[in-house]
Symmetry: D2
Subunit: 482 residues, 4 copies
């Protein structure tokens, strides 16, 4: 009974999105901080490590920016006092962030707020630049200093430099975008303008909403619903939209020429909330469709189709609809266990899976179960869940995955572990099936992905290895981490 | 754009459970604090206001108790350091609590730890005594002082007084129980014993589990699953079980004579987690059954049955199974919004419902929806959700409630608002239907409740007004609150 | 360069006072919380471990007490929000506390707030009861429960029990006092009365002040100055004063019969602030006098008299005045280093003394120094300071102590270490001199103490072993500590 | 008794220093974080708003910097865990800071840590640049972005830009210094070097110490004593010293050509700790001398000379020594009241002066008092203290100020309020005397300042208006503050 050390435990067997962005300009001059706060709550699934809000008063002293950032969830970082201090502010941007983190990530929290030749800028960014290391090195050779390790700072530098020779901030953003290679959805606040921009590949989503006399930019449309705004349209790949007191406009002369569009298919599979639509395609529908394809391509006789909560539920419903096998609930998820909880450092009886999930024995005992999940990363979680179903009395467990196997790294903003940690790396499907202990295993076929996205051009690099942009020579993920 | 004050907002349109209890005695002398911590995480739905753990070393200095309590969720109150300091301790109790709260509720957090004639006791209690005010007054007339406003302190006094003339602590608990009238499930730690007790009506659940050489007492069986323990049996109404190094025993001479049992039906309807079994009846099954009864008693033609998450899902599945109408998902719940979030004090556009729930338009547009929930309290939340469905394009919204209308106060540990706040008070079902804007409304009939509990004797007082114990002359809820 | 563990370090080579008490009743019905807050700031030297304030509204609902307590200094525990929540409240008590502490001392923070037969009481207590263990045991045999390990709870029980058969709370306090043996200065708040009481020996100080229409009770008169109040008089040993809307009165029939008074001489030597007067004697004067006696009794040729800050300064000035040797400053104290700071667990170069004190080389180099301090406890600190003076170039260092050597434990509220840790235990003055490395060493003689207190009857037990009350058979200090 | 709002109150009637810097390079490869922590504790009087430590491992991965910064005192910002995480690190810099603050000063906390062409740099800076706005603007016109509002960032940019074309970081520092105009004492950590630099005027102090095989750079020599290091020498005005594994060196070819030296005289008067020596002159001696000059220039018959603690004490001792009038103690300072405490927003009885200081009535009653302080800023504090002395019975109060009257703004790092707030602005000494209610008032003459500094060239601009560098056209203080 010696004192044992405990540690805060985090479940790593998940693919992480890197960020969510949100911006508001309220022409009626209401404070926008609470709307951004609610927007970030709705985008929280896109980043749980840090968050921040920066606001400004478009009729106040030029360039005065109020900002609050911190490590943690939106609900942890913001108190009523913090929101009070973010006033007055009729224009603002917010950000939620996930990163592979190190000791001092407070510095990396966004929005990035800075002074430059024309006063102040606040930037919120989602995505990863493929050429960030080169751009950093170039800037450093020119005497630049970097206080963070985020790409956003590189983008900011390029906008600042372009601004010197540009007539407007939009023009500067356009010039800067011509140098940036990779994935970026940006929301930028200048003293009198709110600007949104999306890379020409359209990797990451960004949409426009409106509520009364306020315009909104958001990573996902679900956040528009949360704040009671109407969806206007998506920002187009390569487009720069500019919101000023005169309304919204998009100067096509600044926008980037069309490239081969390459939306991140994993937004549809897992990242985005099911109540979001991206570029006209409902995420919920895409997941239902994936389930239906699985039912067609990997049919099996069974008594019940269940989803691994929450992300497997929609595809499970699609499978059930297509197959006619009843859809049911097999798991109870503990909603009070967040991203982290405490574990003894030495071996303990309780696994993280068990603390988060419990099987509904009454629902599965004696049945043949089809268990649908969105992905298998390392395989440990999946294996445990299969095992829990068996211990609860399931007669058979058939696993169906609403995505192809992960095989390749992503350089555009998704934190896929290195190959040697991926269960699919160097294993056949049959070998994976044995590893996770399932009676059968079926993945969604690569060919189904375009159908899932209803024909939109997509990026499938993490599954197929076909990169829409040539991958960088070095691994850019985690570089420069202090 | 004047600075507006914000406040932390809490959604009150919910019925609250008052507490959850958990205790462990590990004969292999492992530290029990982490197991209790996981147990409390699994019982968190029973109380989110405060929590605490007290442990002791059965071979250490007699009466040395280590304790940590605090306001907030288990994951907020406990850090790795706190768990480390709860060592050594091979016996312990834990508690999660909800209360109607006041300024200084830190004092009311449990377990209650005290010194008395035989050293130390730590008590964790779930339930409400009907005769607490009389018992307090009696004790005060005898010179007692009270440092909290919880019934647990009254119980502790009676045990301490009985202990003076008893040979064992079990005997003292038995003597004390003869004075207590009302609902109580107790877990008590004395220096060398872990004791569980349940009132003779069996209002609140309490069960026994076992893992390796450790015995566990828990409000719900789901927490046994979480810590990897096996369910042994429920503590019987009126029973006192005593766990010592010699094993578990229950001296029937001390237990209370059988009374008319009266399990709280609302545990089955809403409080307990669906993966819990209480006195042999699966909560999930009870909810499925309630849904089936609703389908039989209040049929309607429709395209989709949906549950209001999370508590309405099981009954919705039962309704779907019975009616043959497909079950689907209509709502996305934001799992990052906890019990509280920030709201401007002045009117704001965002309602709490909207921040927590969003409708899956794709799922409901153009459809006739049957929406199943477990209860309607004030009606505001229900009305908003009906409205959200309509705005999302639902053609019809038929509301089915898997419980009868709330009409009466509860004196046994459930925080039902006063009558004037209950929508069902003084309104016909038709009037309620109009109030919430539904196309039809059906409640579960009172006669269905015994069937739902598979014949177990139940308390239905909040619906029927038939109290198994005469209600107190005065309202005991909230009395003595500082 | 392996990671080394650090710990929060506390300097233990000091004698600690146990508590300070403060109470206000404002007849003009202003909130008293801020006045109590300032009073506690002024009494902070009497206890730095925890503090608390409890207030009540004498015209509000009877027995509603608002309270805030916490571990730490007054300035750490109270924020503007806390003071705001302590309103309305025109009557209140506050407390600062030091204790030898254990894991869970939050429970022991005062004021102790409780419900009893006549509503609520809040108690703040300074001192130690000699018969607390017997009283606890008696109460426990009668079925009492204890939730703290402080004597205050024992006192509260006795007042509550006496109240049952008393007409007034004052009468109950008087009856209780007849059972209490030891040191206690009490401030008690009942719903409509503020009561002060002092044990018949007068061990600990307690005085009365007035500001406009508010009466104040305070451990020390310096706190009256801080809040702008006038000193009225000291509470007399054995007296009970009662402040009601009708003013202040003291019913001599309730007060205790006079005992041999025995004021704690260490209040004059070290505990009390120099700007305090206790029972008519100025603490500053007493210290000046001690310095003068030292100059007379232990003269030495030297160039400069210096005090060890802060407590040695007044006696050093007295020594300088009597001897004609110039008074100067030899040390700079770092006022930003509080009671605690961080130290590597393994040996480190920096001593706690060095971090807190630095020698003013310019002041002492080449000089013969008389260094005056109030006491030597373990001797380590004193030895280090002597050494620092030598390293700074002092030619001679003559140590003068404005108290006799510590030799005996105190049972009345002073935390003197056990005998084996006292440098004076079993050592002659010459041996102590060698131990601390001084050129000469002189202690104040026992016979000087009565003169220092200007003839007031005093307790000198820690120096002389002559206890005014028979010491308890067992060591009561730290007992019952969890 | 309505709830009244409270606020945290800060005493502004003080002149504030802006910063303190500290750096260590330990050739024996011990962790330097604890030494820097103790150094910052000793320099805390130079800045209480924020602090930080950055360390690096000279044999670890190049450019890996561990950093912790925060708002508050060193003891508040650093816990044992923080120090543990600052390991391994055998080289490091620390900083304490005061600023006129705004909403988001966390961003401005130092050391400033950055990536640049040669890896990483960490900078700690004390002083103010006169040409910072021009330098910023120049850089911005060249596309630079600024994430803070501190001059340090401007300095960092210039070093980074110079580094591109320099062979060593020392050379880059030298090139950068040729552009900086104003006051700066810098400690810079590069991956393998610790560099110290001081502007050619020598406005702010910086000295070198040594302990075993570790070199130390510190704003004040008192911090060397605290960490047990020996004073080696002061860094010379315009000098750049470089500490590498090969020892310490200073390449005169890089250093700046000598300018008219202009040490800040206010370091001697008030800022520096009395146990510090700056450029060979003891601060304590300088203050004693100022007191002696006051006694010669403004003699008066009196009974007692007292200092306003702490800063007036040394000069009071000098006055006493010169005049032969006894030196005594008139005030007790509450050492538990920090920089801030809580005050009701509406008028309250307690002044900040009263809460911090109390008069020792016994010491002053009936006496003619000479009260010595280091400065009068707005005059309110001084007036209150004079009044407190009178209320305590002083017969006469003669105020002597150990500095000339404040009349002009400082652009070199001292936060002197604007002219209209300075009591001396537009008032004769006689008018000031009346304002503060003294019987007589004497300031130190301007001509005494050079003598006080023992002939060192000094800057007296705030008193004389004679600026060693032409003041900037615009007020640079507080500019760019968000």
């Amino acid at each position: 009974m010696n004192k044992q050390p405990y540690e805060t435990f985090e479940d790593f067997d998940r693919i992480h999105e890197e960020c969510g962005v949100f911006g508001v300009y309220d022409f009626d001059r209401h404070d926008v901080a609470p709307t951004i706060y609610y927007g970030l709550l709705a985008l929280q699934h896109r980043g749980q490590e840090s968050c921040g809000i920066a606001v400004s008063d478009t009729e106040g002293p030029k360039g005065k920016v109020l900002v609050h950032k911190g490590m943690g969830l939106t609900n942890e970082v913001f108190t009523p006092e913090h929101l009070e201090r973010l006033s007055p502010g009729d224009i603002g941007v917010g950000h939620v962030r996930y990163s592979t983190a190190g000791a001092s990530t407070r510095e990396n929290a966004q929005p990035l707020v800075l002074n430059y030749i024309k006063g102040t800028l606040a930037l919120a960014h989602n995505g990863n630049l493929v050429n960030a290391p080169e751009l950093r090195r170039e800037l450093e050779y020119d005497g630049a200093i970097f206080q963070t390790t985020i790409d956003t700072e590189v983008i900011a530098y390029h906008i600042a430099r372009a601004r010197v020779k540009s007539k407007t901030v939009e023009e500067a953003v356009g010039r800067a975008m011509r140098k940036l290679v990779g994935a970026y959805s940006l929301v930028i606040m200048s003293p009198r303008k709110l600007i949104g921009a999306r890379d020409p590949f359209g990797f990451k989503p960004l949409c426009i909403g409106k509520r009364d006399n306020a315009y909104i930019l958001s990573s996902e449309s679900c956040a528009l619903d949360t704040v009671g705004a109407e969806f206007v349209r998506d920002v187009r790949p390569g487009e720069i939209v500019s919101i000023t007191r005169d309304g919204i406009k998009s100067d096509t002369s600044l926008c980037l020429p069309p490239e081969k569009e390459a939306r991140c298919i994993f937004e549809y599979i897992y990242f985005a909330r099911p109540d979001t639509r991206i570029d006209g395609v409902s995420v919920y529908h895409a997941r239902l469709a994936a389930g239906r394809f699985l039912a067609k391509d990997h049919p099996v006789e069974a008594d019940l189709v269940v989803g691994v909560p929450e992300s497997g539920n929609a595809a499970a419903q699609g499978y059930a609809q297509e197959s006619g096998i009843p859809y049911g609930t097999a798991f109870v998820k503990n909603s009070y266990v967040g991203r982290t909880f405490i574990k003894p450092k030495q071996k303990s009886r309780e696994s993280s899976v068990q603390v988060k999930l419990n099987v509904l024995k009454e629902s599965v005992a004696g049945k043949r179960i089809i268990m649908v999940d969105d992905s298998i990363v390392r395989g440990t979680t999946c294996g445990r869940i299969v095992n829990m179903l068996r211990e609860a009395g399931a007669k058979e467990v058939h696993v169906r995955i609403s995505a192809p196997p992960f095989l390749h790294p992503c350089y555009f903003g998704t934190d896929i572990p290195s190959e040697d940690q991926l269960i699919a790396h160097g294993r056949t499907v049959e070998e994976i099936r044995q590893e996770i202990g399932a009676d059968s295993l079926g993945y969604l076929g690569l060919d189904r992905l375009p159908q899932m996205a209803e024909g939109l051009p997509i990026c499938t690099a993490c599954f197929s290895g076909e990169y829409p942009i040539e991958p960088p020579r070095e691994d850019i993920r985690g570089e420069y981490q202090k």
